[in-house]
Amino acid sequence: MNPVKFTLVIGLMAASGALPDDLQDLSERGGAPFKPMREKPEQLQSEIRDRLRDSLTLDDAVRIAAWNNRDIQTVLAEMTASRAERRIGRMPPNPTLEAGIRFGEGERRADYALTVDLSDLLFYPLKWSAAGAIFRRDKMKAAMELRGLIAEVKTSYYRLQAQDRIHGLLVSMLENAQTVDALSERQRKAGNISSLDRAVQEESKQNATLALAGIEIELLSERMNFARLLGIGASETPIVLREDSLEPPPGDPAPDELIRLSVETNPEMSAAREDIFAAKRASTLANWNRLPSLRAGVALEQEGSKSFIGPKVDLQVPLDFGWNAAAKAKAEKQAAGFRLASIQDRTVGDIKAAAARLSAARKAIRYYRDEIIPLREKVVEETQKQYNFMLLGVYQLIQAKQNEYAARRGLIESQRDYWLTHTELERISGGPIPHSATHSGGAQ
């Protein structure tokens, strides 16, 4: 990190009131090196513009979104509020100062008392602990939201990458269709084909035009979405993605490994665990709160030149012994437990389903890359040879090439599906997928 950036980050941290360890934790759990900001410093905007000038990598996109996305900044602001709440929760109960003055018969009488709620003081460690758990839960929820947003950025990036490449293929396919259309028009003018044959070729061109228009609309829409996720105006700077390979890594992690990882790092599960912890504390507190509230302190009474001092005790005369509050706290503790179990079940199911889709996408990639595309290329090559001997015509030759392009599109779509599923799996499992612990699943 260069000194300017380092200074900037520290300055931003200080400005936001975030503690460095909190930020680091959130960064790791959120999956992005974000910077909480109250306002956009010029240096940061300048750096973002610099990055946008070059072709954008996925890491660049995630980084810019982490710095600049409005929703992420909202989450960070909410985190600051949560931290303040925690501080409030950590403060010991305030003592109460009572004072009174009375006049009569030429005399003045004053009463003073300083008391403290002993119940609050007694339960302070429990409340302090519960407030800490709630803060940690909020932090996990923030991390979860961040993961969701980062996943959106990655999804949009992969979609754009794929659409960009498919767009290139569809342009080639349209060019072929236009060539065929022009050729058939000349054939028609020469009197060699019927208007029916001519119309068939013309329709092919129109279909190709329509297909290209469709992808262009998708591309435009996705570009706007991507710009929004990065926190920049769609027309501010044209975004060019770097032409990285969409090939998957050598292998994918086993679902069991992902489930284990998820139990450890998934922010949603961590938040649910903190919820349980806080609910337990709240339940304990509710049980204790069944005792009548007791305030104790010292009282001073001045009457003329006389002073009287002595202890003061206020004891609440309970009509409600806190049964209902205790029952509510107990139910909330149970609900928190069920919630965690539900999240675990859903996460395990989602991981298994996504892992299966990942494996299927990998197989589709291999199928397109190693089987279909080479076969379609072979078909073009052999059609060319048969064209050379006038066994097949130019239209069949071009159709063979169109079929090859269609196979290439299939490969790109499979690669896109792989990375979209991969992103989803990261989001579900709660962290980056450790490809060091991957297995090929027989579909490499």
């Binding site: 050729l183 054939q187 020469a190 064209y387 001997f389 006038m390 130019v394 071009i398 090439k401």
Partner: protein
């Protein structure tokens, strides 16, 4: 022991002629089967014994194109059987095909049980079995033999041959006697096994199971009396036409045609199941003999090939080549330009038009052969000698036309395309697509943008290098 040449007549002839050639030792002019063979026989107590083996074979149907065929004794058509009217013959047929077969003696007058129809006149010859057919030849003429068990498949794969019965006494002398079997096949381009299920859409047409330029020429010397026997057990009828001659059909599979019923013509239609013999006196020259159905003297061509006659591909060809780099526009000015382009076709497939003559590409295929009538062609010395020496169209060179008898550009000697390029030591570059484009520097064709290739220097002109 081979008794082929030891009939009494033959012995008598041999005694008279000493070591005379085959043609002079036989009581008839032996039949030449171009690209084929003649079947030997042995004698067994006065019976001529022939051996046929029906089997799966590899057959070169044209230069470099090998097909999986079924035939007899290693070939298709099977070897020509020759005998003399009155002979008692026994034909031992061994079946090495994967299914039962039988052999029908087409046009033969014989006992019903020898007719060779599986299930009707005999039981089928099972794989590995050998059957004997024995009968006396009661007629003479050009007959045929072919499979009559699962005949659609077996004939479609090539199981047929000639059975020539010579008369006891010839009415006139024939200098050379040829037999050509007409047939058609469907062999998918790039494949090797004929599809016998095809009924009409054939793509390979053959004389003696050879497609031009694989057909061996018919040789003659000027003034010789030539007989050509045609047989057809295929699916289509073939109008066989000879250039530069009139002929008379002298016989059918039903026997001789009386001279009074013969008339001159230049084309004879041979329907499936028919044979026709025609005779003519050879006139000097190189003369095509071919089926006159337009697609039959051609090799495979796609019926879906779009008609590009008169359709310029200027500006389009380069766009297609951007996507398919090997693309070349074809067909705008006809299909002649395909010749000499040397483009690579599918494996095991003959180009639609092929063959080189003394003036350039002949541009034919399929049922096409050349009748070469040259003074310097040796006298007929026997079928074995012919088969050894005559295998391709350019055998025995080309006819040397007398001065002033070659069509040419009005008022000039050679046409611009034929004019030799002066040998200045420079390499001449030309376009494989547009041979009229010639220049002394490499570059691209101004018409289609293709890279120009060096021309190969040869006597009397230049030839474009083959390229792929």
């Amino acid at each position: 022991m081979n008794f082929r040449n030891i009939s009494l007549t033959i012995i008598f002839s041999s005694l008279l002629a000493g070591a005379a050639p085959e043609g002079s030792r036989l009581p008839y002019t032996p039949v030449i089967t171009p690209n084929g063979s003649t079947l030997d026989f042995t004698m067994d107590k006065g019976v001529k014994v022939f051996r046929l083996t029906a089997e799966v074979i590899k057959h070169e149907i044209g230069p470099g194109m090998i097909i999986n065929a079924w035939g007899y004794n290693g070939g298709t058509p099977g070897p020509t059987i020759e005998a003399i009217e009155g002979d008692r013959v026994r034909i031992l047929v061994t079946n090495k095909l994967p299914e039962p077969t039988s052999v029908h003696w087409h046009g033969m007058l014989l006992p019903s049980g020898m007719d060779g129809v599986s299930g009707l006149s005999q039981r089928g010859i099972q794989p590995g079995e050998t059957f004997a057919y024995e009968f006396t030849l009661k007629q003479h003429g050009t007959l045929m033999y072919h499979s009559h068990g699962d005949e659609m498949v077996q004939m479609g794969m090539g199981t047929m041959g000639f059975f020539i019965i010579h008369p006891k006494k010839a009415t006139h002398k024939i200098d050379r006697d040829y037999a050509l079997f007409l047939n058609e096949w469907f062999i998918p381009p790039g494949a090797a096994t004929p599809n016998p299920s095809i009924m009409t859409d054939f793509n390979t047409f053959t004389f003696n199971s050879k497609a031009f330029p694989g057909t061996a020429p018919i040789l003659a010397r000027p003034g010789e009396r030539i007989r050509i026997r045609l047989g057809n057990v295929g699916q289509e009828d073939h109008p066989i036409h000879i250039h530069g001659h009139q002929f008379k059909v002298v016989a059918t599979d039903g026997g001789d045609i009386p001279p009074a019923a013969q008339y001159s013509e230049t084309t004879v239609l041979v329907a499936p199941g028919q044979t026709r013999d025609f005779e003519f006196t050879a006139t000097a020259g190189d003369w095509p003999l071919h089926c006159h159905r337009r697609h039959h003297p051609m090799n495979a061509m796609g019926h879906d090939f779009p008609n590009m006659i008169g359709v310029s591909q200027d500006g389009i060809e380069s766009k297609i080549r951007d996507k398919v780099p090997g693309y070349m526009a074809m067909g705008e000015k006809g299909m002649d330009e395909m010749q000499g382009m040397g483009m690579q076709g599918p494996e095991n497939t003959l180009p639609m038009m092929a063959g080189d003559g003394p003036f350039g590409p002949i541009g034919m295929g399929g049922m096409f052969t050349i009748v070469k009538v040259h003074d310097d062609i040796p006298k007929f010395t026997g079928t074995a000698d012919y088969n050894a020496k005559v295998k391709s169209p350019d055998a025995f060179g080309w006819y040397k036309n007398p001065p002033g008898t070659i069509a040419d550009t009005v008022g000039a000697g050679l046409s611009p395309a034929q004019r030799p390029v002066p040998d200045s030591g420079e390499t001449i570059y030309t376009c494989p697509m547009h041979p009229e484009v010639k220049q002394t520097k490499p570059g691209n064709c101004p018409k289609c943008g293709m890279k120009l290739v060096p021309m190969e220097k040869e006597k009397g002109g230049n030839k474009t290098h083959e390229h792929h």
